[in-house]
Symmetry: C2
Subunit: 243 residues, 2 copies
Amino acid sequence: MADHLDRIRIVLTNPSHPGNIGSAARAMKVMGITKLYLVNPKEFPNDHADALASGAVDVLRHATVCGSLSEALQGVGFAAALSARRRELTLPAENLREAATQAMHLAAHNEIAFVFGNETFGLSNEEVMQCNLLIHVPTNPEYCSLNLAAAVQLVCYELRMAAGLTRFDDWPTPPTLATQEQIEGMLQHLEATLIEIGYLNPANPKRLMPRLRRLYKRATLEVDEIDMLRGILTKTLASKRSQ
Amino acid sequence: MADHLDRIRIVLTNPSHPGNIGSAARAMKVMGITKLYLVNPKEFPNDHADALASGAVDVLRHATVCGSLSEALQGVGFAAALSARRRELTLPAENLREAATQAMHLAAHNEIAFVFGNETFGLSNEEVMQCNLLIHVPTNPEYCSLNLAAAVQLVCYELRMAAGLTRFDDWPTPPTLATQEQIEGMLQHLEATLIEIGYLNPANPKRLMPRLRRLYKRATLEVDEIDMLRGILTKTLASKRSQ
């Protein structure tokens, strides 16, 4: 598709209520988005989910069930997390409308994911830290309990609006982003290197790796930059060993 | 409230499923909109509606149940109809985003309604003709079956976005619109006048009044204009009778 909505994944982590999965599938398909990923759904497949999906049962049938968020994010260059929970800001936050526009721009060259948490508990900090961005949906400060499928509806609507309204011709060519696996690979390479050069003590690692992860996630690294960073690490080790 | 979201009514006509009423109430309150009008709900109040309303049961408790759409639109200056059904264009159609911005501008001086049809049958032409505008929500042309509560969620989100994002200071002062009752009164006055002057034959009225209604609804008449039009009608009759 020219509008790249086929590059969008909707990822529901630990959904408790099958009805929400069905309603989310309907909400997606109405906006032309069909790639659903389910991380450890409590009940799936499920008749109630099928009933609420209405004419979008095909989205459920083709859904990818995963055992972890990192599995659902394989191949993804840009992942945005929805979270109503107040937390120390682990990632930069952006309004849904701007995030959707940014995502559709990147979708020309990259796989994109929008990640939703469990109905009650939201996303864990570990899950959020696998994403590049936190999304803020403006809500009533006195009652911000957005239903899961309703949140999916708003995200998919804004993505369709961004795909249709925004002329990206005038924008700079979107970069080809590193996938989540490439970033993880680089971080492991970095950690091993830091241990070997004696900067990181595995017996007392402190918050060093989480802070580095946060930095590199926020930066939405490009493939070329991963190559460059790993080149530096390889060189660092080689020069140390040759001493 | 300074943002005038308290001037917005969400009107559900003939809703069949109590769950949708509850989900709609939650969708409204999350966005800070609390005035719910129900025209001939099939089942209300209802436990399933309460369950799905979650923390928005107060919206259901304060909902106004009406016997007709015109009752729900009493005092309303601007009513927008949501309809997925293709119909000969009876009213001007506008994208949801633009309509929400227009509505929040008018809300400074006027009561506003967003009118939703039955889950299966949508709105009748008669119901649509009581509104000023048809709203278009962009959807997948191959599957446009937007759930009722999901549609309410999108409308309330766009209203909140418009209230928060748009600075109306630079806009012209919004007009004070005629209410639906004032327009109906004028139309009855007009019809009686047209009959008396022999332009409209009650035995063979053709489509004259529906066409005039369409014209004046589309025009979103102001109070002053109603006074003016009725002044003309009064004068027309007086001059005829004095012949």
